[in-house]
Symmetry: C2
Subunit: 302 residues, 2 copies
């Protein structure tokens, strides 16, 4: 077994994942625990950290973390660095916990043409991990509760935008009239999903189009079992449509699109992108590689 | 006091309102109770009806109701009539409760160019009540949980569209990350509201733009007290923008726009319409007058 050179953490609102990483970047071992920011209860961050790394903590290794642990509600608040952001800028913006337990990667902030800010925290690390060549020009689609589209060029995160797709899906299904009508299908309903995608890819107003999840059932065009997959398709399709326009407006070619993640949700995004005529490839979630590269840029490891 | 000629009910999901109406359409008396479809508990519709009308029930008057009481989860399901729908079509589509207690007004269904249905149930009655001349050409904006834009021409409801603006606002504020950041302002914050309206009136993707309610606070551009009014403005502004496009695509002139309702929400819509350069007038909520006109068209009253 190779010798460990770094402990890296991806510490979010729900889950924290810890990686024991070798000097060549190989992940030797992984641990995770439900000790995200909203799951800590009465435990301190220091205690949760000690519990998570366990016996790894006995090794005198540099430790680095990314994610919401560096937010206002985290262990310490690490200020955002401004886009365009390089690996060196992230390394230069590392924060340190008071007891020296961890270096924490800053998030990135960008402002659009109207001056409205957008932010990522955690995804910046995944971006630099996801690309085999971190200097490549690429558009990264990162599905999730708050989905992020990130434009990377020449080793810089130049721009990005957030879509609240996953959260809108969840709250509308759990708390709106649309959910009261839905019945669990027990399995993925592809026809309903693609019908939603096609609707999402058209011009439209989402506050209006969402209502179709109800009226199509009233009209007999969908069954209650179809509602969740139709809604998922509609929201993902609309994100792909709007994200495509956003990318084009920023001069991204859509020639090198990566969907970051290996789960069923990423699969849905890939299919919606294909339907929109956009070829994409899958990039596995790569927080560990990103943490490794930032640690090296910060000279935490040789 | 004039003699009553009709008892009319506006019976929705939360509240039921009963009107005692004279032969000339004047409302003599009004009652309301929290006996909407979702508030009935163990009571039957017949019992709730008897409780609501009370001593009015002793008079041998025709009775007519509109609203969700005629939906699938209502007392009886009254099938939708298709748009374009006239007063005569609504009168011809009246349903009757098994015990003869009530005539119930049908809702209206329309299908867009893609075949997707949209529905109103209750608003059709308000449309025919809101216009002084029910044969006028007008665009009616009806704010609410599910806001409706209705195009009326020559005595027909020719088309309409639903925006889930109110429900999206409520569920995002109560259940999403946007609400966790908001603090009660205690009063209307007009600058934040109009900032939201201006953002909503621009081109944009709502799943992205909603996130600004968070990032503008993170960036110090809004305070937590501003969040609710900013969100309200953003969603109403976007509805006005999209509704305007919808109306133009259907050949509506936007020269005779009525905002139906007299509450603070309608006031917000009027202001957003003004900001978009659309002159509108206010029409009071007019279910009683609509019920009266439908009852007359059905010859329930002379």
């Amino acid at each position: 077994m190779p010798t460990a050179a770094l402990i890296g953490l991806d510490w979010g609102t729900s889950v924290a994942r810890a990686y024991r990483i070798a000097a060549d970047g190989t992940v030797i071992d992984t641990r995770s625990a439900d000790c995200g920011l909203q799951k800590l209860g009465a435990r301190s961050f220091a205690q949760a950290f000690t519990d998570l790394v366990g016996d790894w903590g006995r090794e005198p290794l540099p430790r680095i973390a990314a994610g919401m642990i560096g937010s206002r509600n985290g262990w310490i608040e690490v200020p955002y660095v401004d886009a365009p952001a390089t690996l060196a800028a992230l390394a230069g913006g590392l924060g340190r916990t008071p007891g020296g337990e961890l270096a924490i990667v800053p998030g990135v902030m960008v402002r659009d043409g109207e001056g409205t800010p957008d932010v990522i925290r955690g995804e910046e690390t995944e971006v630099f991990g996801a690309l085999d060549d971190p200097g490549a020009d690429a558009l990264l689609v990162m599905p999730g509760t708050h989905s992020k589209w990130v434009s990377a060029r020449g080793g810089r995160i130049v721009d990005f935008a957030t879509w609240m797709t996953g959260e809108i899906y969840a709250v509308m299904l759990q708390h709106s009239i649309l959910g009261r009508l839905a019945e669990s299908a027990g399995s993925h309903r592809d026809v309903a999903f693609m019908r939603g995608v096609d609707s999402g890819l058209r011009d439209g107003a989402i506050a209006h189009d969402l209502f179709a999840a109800r009226t199509l059932v009233l009209g007999g065009d969908l069954t209650p079992h179809d509602v969740t997959d139709f809604l998922s398709g509609l929201l993902i399709g609309r994100e792909v449509r709007d994200g495509q326009q956003w990318a084009r407006a920023h001069g991204d070619s859509l020639g090198n699109v990566h969907v970051v993640g290996a789960d069923a949700l990423s699969d849905r995004y890939s299919r919606a992108l294909t339907r929109a005529g956009i070829t994409s490839r899958r990039a596995p979630a790569a927080a560990a590689r990103g943490l490794f590269r930032i640690a090296r840029a910060a000279s935490l490891i040789p």
